[in-house]
Symmetry: C2
Subunit: 191 residues, 2 copies
């Protein structure tokens, strides 16, 4: 998606440790014009899959999932993050390891919001190690529902998560895919 | 807003302790058709104020703020919640007491995302005790920016937060306002 690549080049900041800072247009502050375009692009990419629901994880996936849900006119659901596993039987839950923060957390969704009839499109802001996306795939599986694919705003290909998940058969559509990055700039994938 | 009141009557659940459960259309699962209407309604209510930015707080305000931001074509920013006050000097921060969870937390926004030139519209899902909204007003004040008003999806008038904030001069527009609620049902405010 050209608009996303342009935005990364003009406003993204590469920080030490393989971190791409997009806080001023995609995360803590969101460019809502770009957000609308993202929603329409995701809707177009996955329209033939006829998803019935969008699933993301708090917090930075929520705006993207809402935009995609509005564009496709289907409900969106977000998994909540909990530090402990002290949750009741009314939920699906999975343990996810965060490379960024170096800890584990629980991702939790009420059983009311995912059913065996659902065709679920996963949406998130970043795909790096792939742990969050793999966790969402697990939650959908617990519900007996089907994953139709995943849309991510930015894939950091050099962190390998996308390759591992694609090998398991998951269709992943990044709106921008980063081959490599350094102090001197960002190189996008040759898809 | 009729669509919001209808949804509360048909899908909301009153739980003990003054809690209104709206998790299946406004919180963990979001009805994106209703969300689009909410965005347009907020845009219409505040169009004369010409806000330059929308500010909310994670997580349940994000989708509403994104929808309003898309409808008004202005950026949205969300304050992050932290348990400790261990934050650096590059942020505005305020301590907020949560009645729901019985604890304090820090709401934090980067100084990059609120400036003295901003005219800020606050957006949140619930207005009850008013502590979260008062915290957002504080953050905007720290930036030297102006608050043009607040839009909340649901005001629980009987918890008093709205009255206190209006006495301080804040314009608050609830899309649904609840006068009282009990096992037998919900009564909306006579505005």
């Amino acid at each position: 998606m050209q608009a996303m690549e342009d935005k990364i080049l003009t406003e993204g900041k590469v920080l030490p440790g393989g971190i791409l800072k997009v806080g001023n247009f995609l995360n803590q502050q969101i460019d809502t014009g770009l957000l609308r375009e993202i929603g329409l692009e995701i809707a177009d990419l996955f329209k033939d899959e006829k998803p019935t629901k969008i699933l993301t994880i708090e917090s930075s996936g929520i705006a993207l999932a809402a935009a995609a849900g509005m564009a496709m006119d289907i409900p969106m659901v977000f998994a909540k993050k909990h530090k402990s596993s002290n949750v009741d039987g009314q939920v699906y839950t999975v343990t996810i390891h965060s490379f960024t923060h170096g800890n584990d957390y629980q991702a939790v969704v009420s059983r009311d919001y995912l059913t065996a009839e659902d065709r679920v499109l996963l949406v998130d802001d970043f795909l790096a190690s792939g742990n969050a996306l793999a966790g969402l795939v697990d939650l959908v599986g617990q519900a007996g529902a089907e994953v139709v694919g995943a849309a991510v705003a930015i894939e950091k290909k050099f962190q390998g998560g996308g390759e591992a998940l694609r090998k398991q058969g998951l269709r992943i559509e990044p709106l921008a895919c980063i081959e490599s990055m350094s102090d001197t700039g960002v190189t996008f994938c040759h898809l």
